[in-house]
């Protein structure tokens, strides 16, 4: 399978982030065409393309747009979820840094299609230069007449506000994002009603991921068939696959959905020289881990699901045999405990206890009953948490205990970690002595 640069295609150009660069590469052809098309036909085209949400859940994008109730004369909103924070996920940030106009054009087309005249881009606050690029891209688009009043003489008006968050993973959950955008603590809302019915300011709202929206201009310009000619029967189109970790050439690989990790590793020069693949995540830390057995699983929604995990955000974190799976999972668990918003008990208390148990196993103070305790805790969180964060917290634990139970047991039996932590680093160093409890890190001051 070959790579298919679409979103990445302008990234190697001089000053790739400028509007002029984007226009020279054919940018805004989609918007020009869209403004001469009936909005309903645009929604249908995106439905026909098979584009599914690139933020993790994989819900059909056009169908999401189609859930908006008929216009009632009041405002309708598009909110772009640019709060990329899932561990391992690193695709939207480079996209917005290198080619923000892809997103802005997608925002303009989508807003027109759903009848929105004020769109918001909610970007995480911890990426200063990305925020600068977005502010600048919006200003450039206004000056060129792609945003603002009477866009390209069509009579259509659109304002776009770029909004910076302030550090909270949970705001990637779409209803928490909406609360945050309303100036509140970012905590998820009960669904239903869904955002399509009562979203921002309780008005009909579409919330879409950056990559989803950035994929829209080419679908409109080149057609649904063009998009669905890439990918598999049910997972159509191109997607950014982000390779990180113990791989020779980490980075962004834009390919049709359905490519395998084996193919991607071949392109990326393989696992770190002299080492072998131990485990990997197909779609971020919230997706159950895979091993070398899964190298040939097509990376599409259905195949990854059938193999017991989720395609998620195509965040392929590669870990070689030097990595202690207990350390890896324990650290992810610290993350979930830190980022749990506190709204619901299973997640708030459950992630706290998962963290305690994992810390003591990692420190060599685990008991034989701890593995069953961990699984029992996970069982009490999964399906009982208010939003997907709690479910996600259990994924690395249950999948790693299933695949590497003997490694957990070795920590308990041997009263300590059998791995040298420096072996997994990219540089040589002598580990400093410290108490493992100090690894709690940011969790100590968390909310």
């Amino acid at each position: 399978m070959t790579l298919t640069p679409v979103l990445t295609d302008t990234w190697d150009k001089d000053r790739s982030w400028r509007l002029a660069t984007y226009e020279r590469a054919g940018g805004y052809a989609g918007l020009k065409k869209a403004l001469k098309t009936e909005p309903a036909d645009l929604v249908q085209a995106v439905k026909d393309s098979g584009l599914r949400g690139r933020g993790g859940a994989g819900f059909p994008t056009g169908m999401k747009w189609g859930f908006l109730p008929p216009p009632d004369g009041g405002p309708r909103y598009l909110v772009v979820n640019a709060d990329e924070s899932e561990p391992g996920t690193c695709k939207d940030i480079p996209l917005m840094l290198a080619s923000p106009q892809h997103l802005i054009e997608g925002v303009a087309i989508t807003s027109y299609a759903i009848g929105c005249d004020h769109a918001f881009i909610y970007v995480r606050g911890e990426v200063l230069h990305v925020y600068r690029r977005l502010l600048n891209a919006v200003e450039e688009a206004y000056r060129a007449g792609y945003l603002g009043k009477n866009i390209l003489g069509s009579g259509y008006d659109l304002d776009v506000t770029v909004h910076a968050g302030a550090g909270a993973y949970i705001c990637g959950e779409e209803t928490a994002l909406l609360d945050s955008l309303e100036g509140l603590r970012g905590q998820p809302r009960l669904k239903p009603p869904f955002p399509a019915v009562a979203g921002l300011y309780a008005r009909p709202t579409v919330v879409n991921n950056v990559e989803s929206i950035a994929s829209v201009p080419a679908i409109v310009a080149k057609g649904a068939d063009w998009f669905s000619s890439m990918g598999t029967e049910k997972s159509q189109g191109h997607g950014l696959f982000s390779l990180s970790g113990h791989v020779t050439k980490p980075g962004q690989y834009e390919a049709p959905l359905g490519i395998t990790l084996r193919e991607l590793l071949d392109l990326a020069g393989g696992v770190r020289q002299g080492h072998e693949l131990k485990f990997w995540t197909p779609g971020g830390s919230s997706t159950p881990i895979f091993t070398a057995e899964h190298l040939d699983v097509p990376l599409d929604y259905e195949s990854v699901g059938a193999a017991g995990s989720m395609l998620g955000t195509r965040a392929l974190q590669i870990f070689d045999e030097t990595v202690c799976v207990v350390r890896a999972v324990s650290r992810w668990t610290d993350f979930y405990a830190h980022e749990s918003c506190g709204k619901c008990t299973p997640c708030r208390e459950g992630t706290y206890w998962l963290k305690q148990v994992l810390h003591r196993i990692e420190a060599g103070e685990g008991q034989d009953s701890d593995l069953d305790l961990l699984l029992d805790l996970c069982d009490n969180i999964l399906g009982r948490a208010f939003c997907a964060l709690g479910d996600g917290a259990t994924s690395p634990i249950t999948s790693s205990v299933q695949l590497f139970r003997e490694e957990y047991q070795a920590h308990i039996d041997g009263h300590g970690c059998p791995f040298d932590p420096s072996a997994s680093a990219l540089f040589a160093y002598t580990p400093k002595t410290r108490t493992p409890g100090a690894l709690a890190g940011a969790g100590a001051g968390g909310h």
Partner: protein, 272 residues
């Protein structure tokens, strides 16, 4: 502009000029949104751009601007990790110690920096230059291990490069990230940008890293491109697909509550 009407009513202790400037900026922030309350997060960034943290006065200021209580502002300010409850250093040095960066060296970098600077997580050096933090995944995993300085990217770090970086920051030297602006700005300057005030530095470019271009380079070498588009109207196949089972995605409206706004509607949600 005159700040008198605000000044007489305020419980903050800002001097007249500061309050006038803050008021003008906060007004500009609120005007970006259909509902002014949406301006609270940028307004808290704005407060940090003046005070270097979310101060008592800053909380009162936001409350007064939005007509809400100080408790309501505090509830929001304490939820988000970027809002600091104590005066921050000129530079936040954040070491990613989430799993991937940690195992690839982030833990060693944090330990080395902590020892070198004599401070732990969320502590500030005595000279006020650096606040050290463990940070969560910052979406640069293909550049691990990553250090952020005032939320600019310092990719592929080692304990040696990180301590050298910290030393230069403490000496007041200009420091350039590996991706981002030409130099790192101060915490207060950064906070002003995050409040939505463009500092005009978007065109600065410290460089595009190789991982960002990794796939594109291969495609160029091998002559791989996406399929050519026919540039024709999309056809209407009328087929749709549903979300995968168990996904957290939406479903079609099926019950009355799917199409009605709930009774527990919050004030301000009844936009026109």
């Amino acid at each position: 502009m005159t700040a008198e009407p605000v000044e007489t009513a305020t419980r903050t202790r800002y001097d007249a000029d500061t309050l006038a400037a803050l008021t003008a900026d906060a007004t500009a922030i609120m005007e970006r949104y259909p509902n002014p309350r949406s301006g609270l997060l940028p307004m808290l960034h704005l407060v940090q751009s003046v005070d270097g943290y979310v101060s008592r006065d800053g909380i009162l200021f936001c409350a007064e601007m939005l007509g809400i209580t100080a408790a309501e502002v505090s509830a929001v300010a304490t939820f988000y990790t970027q809002y600091k409850r104590h005066p921050n250093g000129t530079y936040t040095v954040g070491v990613c110690t989430n799993t991937l960066c940690a195992v690839m060296g982030g833990d060693a970098i944090f330990d080395e920096l902590s020892e070198h600077l004599g401070v732990g997580h969320d502590e500030t050096t005595d000279d006020g230059a650096i606040t050290l933090e463990r940070v969560e995944c910052n979406a640069a995993c293909d550049y691990a291990p990553v250090v952020m300085v005032n939320w600019e990217f310092f990719d592929n770090q080692t304990p040696e490069t990180a301590t050298a970086l910290a030393d230069r920051l403490r000496l007041g030297e200009d420091v350039a990230p590996t991706r981002g602006a030409a130099s790192v700005c101060s915490f207060k300057q950064m906070s002003r940008v995050l409040a939505g005030f463009n500092d005009g530095r978007a065109d600065e470019d410290a460089g595009t890293g190789e991982p960002t271009l990794a796939g594109l380079r291969i495609a160029r070498e091998r002559g791989w491109t996406a399929p050519e588009g026919p540039d024709s109207e999309p056809d209407k196949r009328g087929e749709t697909i549903t979300g995968e089972p168990g996904s957290s995605a939406e479903r079609p409206p099926t019950t009355p509550s799917d199409t009605q706004v709930g009774k527990d509607k919050k004030p301000g949600e009844d936009a026109k």
